[in-house]
Symmetry: C2
Subunit: 376 residues, 2 copies
Amino acid sequence: MSVEPRVPETNVLAVASHVVSGNVGNKIAVFVLQSMGCDVAALNTVQFSNHTGYRQWKGTRVSAQEITDLWDGLKQSYLDGFDMMLSGYVPGATAVEAVGNIGKELRRKSEKAGRLGSFFWVLDPVMGDNGRLYVADDVVPAYKSLINYADLILPNQFEAELLSGVKITDPASLKEAVRVLHQEYGVPHIVITSVSIPLVSSSIASSSAPQQTGRAMSVVGSTMTSDRQPRLFTISFPVFDCYFSGTGDMFAALMVARIREAISSPSSSSSSSISEQNSDGNESISEKRSWLSGDDVDVLDLPLARAAEKVLASMHEVLAHTAESMTAEMATVVNKEGEVDEKTLHLLKSRASELKLVRNLGCLRDPTIEYRAEKM
Amino acid sequence: MSVEPRVPETNVLAVASHVVSGNVGNKIAVFVLQSMGCDVAALNTVQFSNHTGYRQWKGTRVSAQEITDLWDGLKQSYLDGFDMMLSGYVPGATAVEAVGNIGKELRRKSEKAGRLGSFFWVLDPVMGDNGRLYVADDVVPAYKSLINYADLILPNQFEAELLSGVKITDPASLKEAVRVLHQEYGVPHIVITSVSIPLVSSSIASSSAPQQTGRAMSVVGSTMTSDRQPRLFTISFPVFDCYFSGTGDMFAALMVARIREAISSPSSSSSSSISEQNSDGNESISEKRSWLSGDDVDVLDLPLARAAEKVLASMHEVLAHTAESMTAEMATVVNKEGEVDEKTLHLLKSRASELKLVRNLGCLRDPTIEYRAEKM
């Protein structure tokens, strides 16, 4: 059937913000993961009327104590059997610690059971963007002390700088940031989700669809080797001439499903990956700690690279549909631009730029891969 | 494409409880509605670790003031343009009033705009079941003063008794309860979601699939005529030998999508319904207040009856899959029944009986209709 789950049975704990209206945080993660067939436990760290990009909202944050209480509630009823965890926006350093304790506990449980591959934590260290911190200062050290427990982290360029302490200005400093995160923090998988420095001279920049800018951006990913050396790849994609909220959250949620898919489906992997699955006895990659590929696996055959290609394919299709309906929606507003004040215009633009997810289920589940990973 | 939305663009405000793990309330409603293509604003009235059927849980209720604040947050940013509202479990009488005020406001807005069919409120008056009230006493009058603003209410048998003041013991008293709700409260559409008195001698009772009991239950629905007379139908379906939580919530969410579909797709409706759409000038049923069918429409051609058939078809398939995996999951537990105490066994049973929704997307979207509406 065409609506078969995309992943094997997967219990995911998703910890992020909830907005009543629109799409950011868990509002994206829960639907994206469910649409791929994941069973999602959604621990909401805030309940706001809308995302903060509107510049006004109402609602409440959940305290660190409430996060811990909800986790205790799950444990006492045998509801803590999670295969994966996705942690996104968490309000404040003590709440980050509370979420960190959940991840550490799940990690310890998998170790104690001797099933190192049975838990995989995708951590999106939400702290800021474009050189601006939008959390309290003490959130940065809270994440620094946590990322060595995660399997995959998804910082944007600014967050990668904060975590690694390396200012990213060119390919060399970018590589150095990834090296620090692998070697000093021991993070097995990294994807830097928005790299604006020029990396590869791609043909993408010549693309000129109506809503596209002609500019390209890149993600840069790496899965470390057994001696913590980077295996770096990059994927470039065209940039739309619109501002979207929640793209990082959509990237993270899709990545959870696609990395699970990539390590679970030998039939869809390349031949070198199939041989990898039997390279050391019968242990498949899904049983290994952090789903780490053997050192002989080429960078372009990494599950992380294959997953990232699919993630970006879905992203591109959803953003294209969003940009299209946004243009139509704003056309009516812009006509009366003289009539509405700047604040109202901003609110209407924010509403029009909400990601169009639910009516584009096919883009999430079966995207066409257009942008391929390249070795760096 | 096979994953095309099932409904036209529909903005739904869903107000109900949120559980981190498992499926009740908004955890069901949001996914079910999204999977049908509805854009859902989810206002969560509680955040609990799990549903209360486990007999233990942690988390917090949202206050009436917070509900009102979130609604104000939506309004101030032009995010209150809802086509439909689904209200489910609300904790306490003042919170019921707060939710009621949202429904009343949306109703007034549609009246003020002269677009009477532009807002449709499905109200599930969650109060109790099987003769037992599980909310505070003052919630009952709170709902009584509210239901005349709703378009469709979905009480179970006990809730229908509470609202109508009629004890339901036989077909005659059942009809009287529906008559009271139409005539005295002016509720346009009613479905009583679990009627255990014998109504029709159906062939269903002879069904004997492994997890089925051989017993049948019924829903009873009615859309009133212009002089508030009932048009009653019933659909009987087999009962599974398991206790499920969240069936009422799944029914309500599916009903929201299917009633929208039924009044939006003339191509899928019967010929008499097509002619109905042009019976008074060019006004289609979707433009009429409460989407009320003309008096000439036969009971079995009512959008409510056609929607209910599809809803029950999805329900039956999801419950069958849930019962199947529950049997498998409990087999391992029951083997060691001597080893686990009664409390643990109850917790494991509760977990095993969580509705299996996300991996049965096809059952939600494309069920096979097996149980047909009959005139009462």
